[in-house]
């Protein structure tokens, strides 16, 4: 059982990775990007394509795919989200939902219905594990994923608090008009924030491909996982996403113990329970729950 708990915690690292981009974009631009999961799957396909076609190791492939994701994030903000956000809070939901449908089906058109995985291209890393005391086996990949999540979240936190660009992004998220008056180019800050968010999505996609299989329509569940982890943990800080991811993963692990179909049910259920408790306890909107802690 303690073995399962440790696996669950490590899986939480993946959910934190996929959640932090969603949460970050929401806190800066007040937009929930419904194409979030589809973009992660796109990144996984890009790495798979490089690996299967040109024998580029997925880790080397990231050097190409992450800058590409950053460019996609920039373009997404400049050409789609900026325009659609001017039409109110509801329009970006529709725009990004339409985009998700386009991405999913283009992936299907290009790569077919077969499930793919990056596991064959990362050598023994996909199954190697360390033995911990108490005959607990932890996968090297899972540990790497968890460590990446911690480094990424910590790096983002440092970036937001200690760099000029980070402060500009936070100022824009608080009040874009006043940010402009003190000299911050709010459009640029938003576009950079979107680019950063997409880099995290690219990383999450890489780990999705390495730890499991994916298909063209795998984006929707990833979006739901990201959203659930962000909401469960998003009480105060970026680190909340990590806690949210761990809680989600543990609930899924527990669910799987109870019933063969219980993995997903457990995750959705704990999300709804947390939501219900929060909403009844605080009377606040979710907006407050999702908001990232600025400097804590």
């Amino acid at each position: 059982m303690s073995n399962q708990i440790i696996q669950g915690i490590l899986l939480g690292g993946y959910y934190a990775l996929i959640a932090c981009g969603l949460s970050f974009m929401f806190s800066v631009m007040r937009i929930i990007n419904l194409a979030h999961g589809s973009l992660a799957v796109f990144s996984a396909y890009a790495l798979w394509w490089l690996a299967s076609r040109y024998h580029v190791s997925p880790f080397v492939g990231l050097l190409i795919v992450l800058p590409l994701m950053a460019a996609i994030g920039w373009a997404l903000q400049r050409f789609l989200l900026e325009r659609s956000a001017r039409g109110g809070a509801l329009l970006p939901i529709l725009t990004t939902f339409g985009l998700a449908i386009v991405i999913d089906n283009l992936l299907f058109e290009q790569f077919g219905a077969d499930t793919r995985s990056l596991a064959p291209y990362i050598g023994s890393l996909s199954y190697d594990s360390w033995e911990w005391p108490g005959s607990i086996y932890v996968g090297k990949l899972a540990v790497m994923m968890f460590a990446t999540a911690i480094v990424l979240l910590g790096g983002l936190q440092l970036f937001l608090t200690h760099t000029r660009l980070g402060r500009s992004i936070r100022a824009t998220s608080e009040d874009p008009d006043t940010a402009g008056l003190v000299g911050v180019d709010a459009r640029r800050a938003n576009a950079i924030a979107a680019a950063i968010a997409m880099v995290t999505v690219g990383l999450a996609g890489a780990f999705l491909g390495m730890r499991a299989t994916f298909d063209p329509y795998a984006g929707a569940p990833q979006l739901l996982f990201a959203f659930e982890a962000a909401v469960i943990g998003g009480a105060g800080s970026l680190w909340g996403t990590l806690i949210g991811g761990i809680v989600l993963a543990l609930a899924q692990t527990l669910g799987a113990q109870v019933h063969p179909q219980g993995f997903l049910i457990g995750g959705h259920a704990v999300f709804l329970v947390v939501l219900f408790v929060r909403l009844s306890a605080s009377g606040l909107g979710l907006r407050d729950l999702l908001r990232l802690g600025k400097t804590s």
Partner: protein, 352 residues
């Protein structure tokens, strides 16, 4: 500074709208006798069109009038089919089960609304999706459904194909007409003023005493009921029930497409959008994936460049209103000091 210097003229129906009302009655009458003259395939297609109109109108009621964008409406579509299976299995006449199922879905949506309506915007949108995903998983657990293998509405097979086809056609037509009439009545009645106030500015509406939550709940439950009926009707036309097909987010994608293209927040727009979708599906449905890519891309383009949709744009350009759900105020002349832009004129004078 006065902006409304002259006496406004308030009117409700217009000459066009009275003609339109008569046309609507005529169209429904023609549709009712149509199965006599149509081929079996055409009757099935028309049934599908009616179901699309229901889906579009119900999603529009929620998003266009209630300001609640949901990407999880497939939950009610799937539940509508599931409860119909369950009720028929319990011995209820299958045709009756279709309607009863819609009612059950409506009832189920009431406790759900208590919880979900406290979420806003994107949180509500994805929150509904989580509900749909969870419901799908739970329905899969029902032994009767046998997981993704699914089951069928077997009891419908006691009727011969012709009777079945025509009955489902009439039921779909009747459901569509009734649901549109309910929505039209709601929008014209006293609730309609509240709905429009919420659509235009929720906070302001709340501050002048509009019952925001109550009104939204009404729309939420109506949409659940209508989409539940649509799911049950779809089950009746296809007989088989596979949870994956019914709880697919694609249904919501269709709804969003129809409403965005037709014109979000306009009564006529949803119907027009369903018609457009129906034609596109008829012509391009065979192209598979590209058809879906096209639907998604069209939704993106409309949301960016034509967020009022086809009908909203027509209305704005020509001041046309076939089925007026609101009041219109015509101004003889604007204030001389300020020349309002056409858009502002529309905003202030045409607000339905």
């Amino acid at each position: 500074m006065s902006t409304l210097a002259t006496m406004p003229v308030i009117e409700r129906g217009t000459a066009t709208s009275r003609i339109a009302a008569m046309a609507v009655a005529l169209i429904i009458a023609l549709l009712a006798i149509a199965p006599q003259f149509l081929s079996a395939g055409s009757v099935d297609r028309m049934t599908a069109l009616f179901i699309y109109v229901i889906l579009a109108a119900m999603w529009n009621a929620l998003a266009g009038f209630g300001g609640l964008v949901s990407v999880g409406q497939q939950v009610f579509f799937g539940l509508g089919a599931y409860f119909a299976i369950r009720l028929a299995d319990a011995g209820l006449n299958p045709f009756l089960a279709l309607f009863a199922s819609g009612l059950v879905v409506g009832v189920v949506s009431i406790p759900l609304s208590l919880f979900m309506l406290r979420l806003r915007n994107g949180e509500f949108a994805i929150g509904m999706w989580v509900i749909a995903a969870l419901t799908h998983l739970l329905v899969n657990l029902d032994r009767l459904v046998q997981g993704e293998t699914g089951t069928s509405l077997i009891s419908l097979n006691v009727y011969d194909a012709g009777t079945r086809r025509a009955t489902i056609y009439w039921l779909a037509l009747a459901s569509m007409t009734a649901l549109l009439a309910i929505l039209f009545g709601l929008l014209r009645g006293s609730t309609g003023a509240a709905i429009r106030a919420i659509r235009d500015n929720e906070d302001a509406a709340a501050s002048v005493g509009v019952r925001v939550t109550g009104t939204k709940r009404l729309l939420f439950v109506l949409a659940a009921f209508g989409i539940g009926i649509a799911g049950a009707l779809w089950l009746a036309t296809s007989i088989t029930f596979q949870p994956k097909t019914y709880f697919n987010v694609q249904w919501t994608a269709y709804m969003i497409f129809m409403v965005l293209v037709g014109g979000i927040g306009t009564f006529e727009g949803a119907i027009l959008g369903a018609l457009v979708f129906f034609l596109i599906e008829t012509w391009f449905g065979g192209t598979g994936v590209w058809y879906l890519v096209g639907l998604g891309a069209t939704a993106v383009v409309f949301s960016l460049f034509l967020p009022r949709g086809l009908w909203g744009t027509i209305e704005e350009r020509f001041g046309l209103r076939l089925l007026p759900v609101g009041y219109r105020v015509r101004l003889a002349a604007a204030d001389d000091d300020v020349t309002p832009s056409p858009q502002q004129t529309t905003m202030h004078q045409e607000k339905a």
